[in-house]
């Protein structure tokens, strides 16, 4: 029992004061019945024993017996120890003290125990909730010791996993939570509590399997709590592993799908220009009678198809570099208006007389972007809009602030994209069900734009309505830098 000396002393004094008060009350009122006095003492002792426990009430019983004997039992004013009445009173008082204090202590202990259990269950619940929010197994294992320390208000915690033979700790390596102890717990498969050194251990039990163990230093927890904690952690680890597995399988499947799509695309995209070239060349080499016009036509095809192959190779290489994260972005503050006009300049030859509208409320909006690559994205979207909408319909280009980003949009009034295709057109080598998205023979334009935008931390997307047009939009981080852009 932790002793709070002044408080304890105060209780004894208070008990004594109560005895004195009762004594003087009956002593000076003169109207008393000995039995009433005894009952009053008894009542006070009952109260004290229930409230403050055995020691104070025994002390009070003795004091009350003495006071009762001296002041109220004839001969009044003397201690008549031998009088059996005296003994009866003392025994009654003492018995009451013992019984009442015992009963109330028990009740108090039970309440405290219930409280403590409720508290631990609450903590276990909170702990399990917090564990659920952790992502992959590594993240989870790193987080668990810290979560234990925070939730259970203990000094330090460590978790050991058998499969990786690795210890995860909340802080530095304490000698009482050494890896050897943790390994021993896995072998013994049971909870260990060492109150003296204030450490406790529990196995991470999942059904009949032991996934590892954990140790806690600081206030020891109850065996049930430790057991529950171990199971909770085991379940969480298993769950995280399962989720990771599902993710890996899914990723592998997608990888396979992509690979075969890539192969298909490569066979088609690369063989098509090769076919035109081979046909042209073999015709030129053959003895077939060709006039000058025909010969020139074939040579033109070869020339164009060489360019196309070259473009394909370039785009495939760029895509690969972007995907591998090998592209270093040269970030600088760039006025959104400059980005738009710069991109339009690059498209000038292609656009011809196409009407272009620019919608911008704030001409000073700036983005933090790699100028050349950001232009590449916008140019591609403008090209797209141009290629797939009637030449007299305007293309509308806009830029507006949205949280920490500037959202650019390119809207055309073309035929729109079917909903089923919307999610696919940014996929590498996706081929539209019609020719709409076979841009220049490569399916890589939009995926490249997507990779560039995402490398900037932005997003790219499209909304479209069949019959009325499509709006492609992408976001680039806004620049709040004070310095003037060049």
């Amino acid at each position: 029992m932790t002793k709070n000396l002044p408080a304890t002393l105060a209780r004894y004094v208070a008990a004594l004061v109560a005895v004195l008060a009762i004594t003087s009350f009956y002593r000076y009122t003169h109207r008393f019945n000995v039995t009433t006095v005894a009952f009053t003492y008894l009542l006070a002792i009952l109260g004290v024993s229930a409230l403050w426990g055995l020691a104070v009430s025994v002390f009070m019983s003795v004091a009350a017996t003495l006071a009762y004997n001296y002041y109220f039992l004839p001969p009044i004013g003397t201690f008549t120890i031998a009088d059996p009445q005296n003994w009866v009173a003392l025994v009654t008082f003492l018995a009451t003290s013992v019984l009442a204090s015992d009963l109330s202590t028990r009740a108090r202990n039970q309440a405290a125990e219930a409280n403590r259990r409720r508290h631990e269950v609450e903590r276990l619940y909170r702990f399990s909730q917090r564990m659920l929010s952790a992502g992959n197994p590594i993240e989870l294992l790193n987080a668990i010791p810290r979560l234990i320390v925070e939730t259970f208000e203990v000094g330090a915690a460590a978790v050991f996993t058998s499969d990786k033979q690795k210890v995860y700790r909340s802080g530095m390596n304490l000698p009482q939570l050494d890896a050897d102890f943790l390994k021993a717990v896995v072998a013994r498969e049971e909870v260990q509590i060492d109150a003296e050194r204030s450490v406790c251990f529990a196995p991470l039990r999942l059904g009949s399997r032991i996934l590892g163990s954990m140790g806690i230093s600081g206030p020891v927890l109850s065996a049930q709590t430790l057991e529950a904690l171990g199971s909770l952690i085991a379940v969480a680890i298993e769950r995280a592993h399962a989720i990771e597995m599902v993710g890996k399988t899914e990723a592998a499947r997608q990888g396979e799908r992509l690979k075969s799509a890539l192969l298909d695309a490569i066979t088609h995209d690369f063989r098509t220009p090769l076919t035109s070239m081979k046909m042209s060349v073999t015709t030129l080499l053959s003895p077939a009678p060709l006039d000058d016009g025909q010969r020139k036509e074939l040579l033109h095809v070869i020339d164009e198809e060489c360019d196309r192959l070259n473009r394909l190779v370039g785009e495939a290489a760029e895509m690969a570099r972007l995907e591998a994260g090998e592209v270093k972005l040269q970030l600088e503050p760039l006025r959104a208006a400059d980005l738009i006009t710069g991109s339009l300049d690059l498209c000038k030859g292609m656009l011809g007389t196409r009407p272009i509208r620019i919608e911008m409320k704030n001409p000073d909006l700036r983005v933090e972007a790699d100028t050349a690559r950001a232009k590449e994205v916008l140019v591609h979207l403008i090209q797209n809009a141009h290629l797939y909408s009637p030449p007299d319909k305007p293309i509308t280009i806009g830029a507006e602030e949205k949280d920490d980003f500037v959202q650019f949009s390119v809207a055309d009034q073309g035929p729109g994209i079917a909903e089923a295709e919307l999610g696919l057109i940014f996929d590498k080598f996706y081929r539209g069900t019609d020719q709409r998205y076979r841009v220049q023979g490569t399916g890589m334009g939009l995926p490249i734009a997507k990779a560039i935008v995402e490398a900037h931390g932005g997003t790219i997307g499209v909304v479209s309505q069949v019959g009325s047009g499509s709006v492609f939009s992408f976001s680039l981080p806004i620049s709040r830098r004070a310095s003037e852009p060049k």
């Binding site: 046909m279 015709t283 077939a288």
Partner: protein
């Protein structure tokens, strides 16, 4: 015969350009279609002698287009494909194509296959009509009747049947059949025979799974067995 008309069906403008130039310099007249749908329209309007059909097209696929053309015409069809697997070839032939060419190909090869596909009843000696109680083949009038119902055969199927019947009772090696029907440049394309024999059996055999007319001689080739009054059962070795 006037200059044969060839319909080129490909979604790639460059390939159509080269085809147009090369085929017309070789004396064919060329019509074009950019998609399967367009091809079916052009078929009706132009009545070409041969169709060069790209397998890989957006929209209606080459194979579907091939089937639909086959449903209404016995025009010669050569498919152009980028995939060179047995499976893809069989798919193309199954869809009703007479031949296929794998991209990229040399023009000489394509021209040779065009000539082969256009060649009909090349080895000229007439074959007398074959008549049994459920099968009638009139080679003069190119008519086949199975259990009283007329059956339509594609030119290559008909040619194959003609060779088998002309040599009835004798096993014909794969190579010989291929060269007789497709041309001297052929000989190793056994999958052609497999597909075409299957189609023939489906068309003329009462039970294609247990053929009574067209028999397979393992490791050798195929044999047409005339059925006399009592129908023969199984293979005769």
């Amino acid at each position: 015969m006037s200059t044969p008309t060839i319909l080129v069906v490909d979604d790639e403008p460059q390939i159509r350009r080269v085809m147009r130039t090369t085929l017309s310099s070789n004396g064919y007249s060329v019509v074009e279609a950019r998609s399967g749908e367009e091809a079916l329209d052009v078929m009706r309007a132009e009545r070409p002698e041969l169709v060069l059909l790209d397998v890989n097209m957006p929209g209606k696929s080459g194979l579907d287009t091939c089937r639909e053309i086959r449903d209404q015409s016995d025009v010669a069809i050569i498919m152009l494909t980028v995939r060179n697997t047995e499976h893809d070839k069989v798919l193309a032939l199954d869809a009703g194509a007479d031949d296929y060419v794998v991209k990229p190909f040399g023009m000489e090869e394509l021209l040779a296959r065009i000539r082969a596909a256009l060649r009909r009843t090349s080895s000229g000696e007439p074959v007398p009509a074959y008549v049994s109680n459920d099968l009638e083949i009139d080679f003069e009038r190119r008519k086949v009747t199975v259990q009283g119902r007329p059956v339509r055969l594609t030119p290559k199927e008909f040619e194959l049947l003609r060779h088998l019947v002309a040599n009835q009772g004798k096993p014909l090696e794969h190579r010989r059949l291929l060269q007789a029907v497709w041309g001297p440049d052929y000989g190793d394309e056994t999958e052609y025979l497999r597909v075409f024999i299957n189609q023939l059996r489906k068309k003329i055999e009462p039970d294609p799974a247990h053929p009574k007319y067209i028999h397979t001689d393992p490791w050798v080739g195929y044999r047409f067995e005339p059925v006399t009054a009592a129908p023969a059962k199984g293979k005769k070795k």
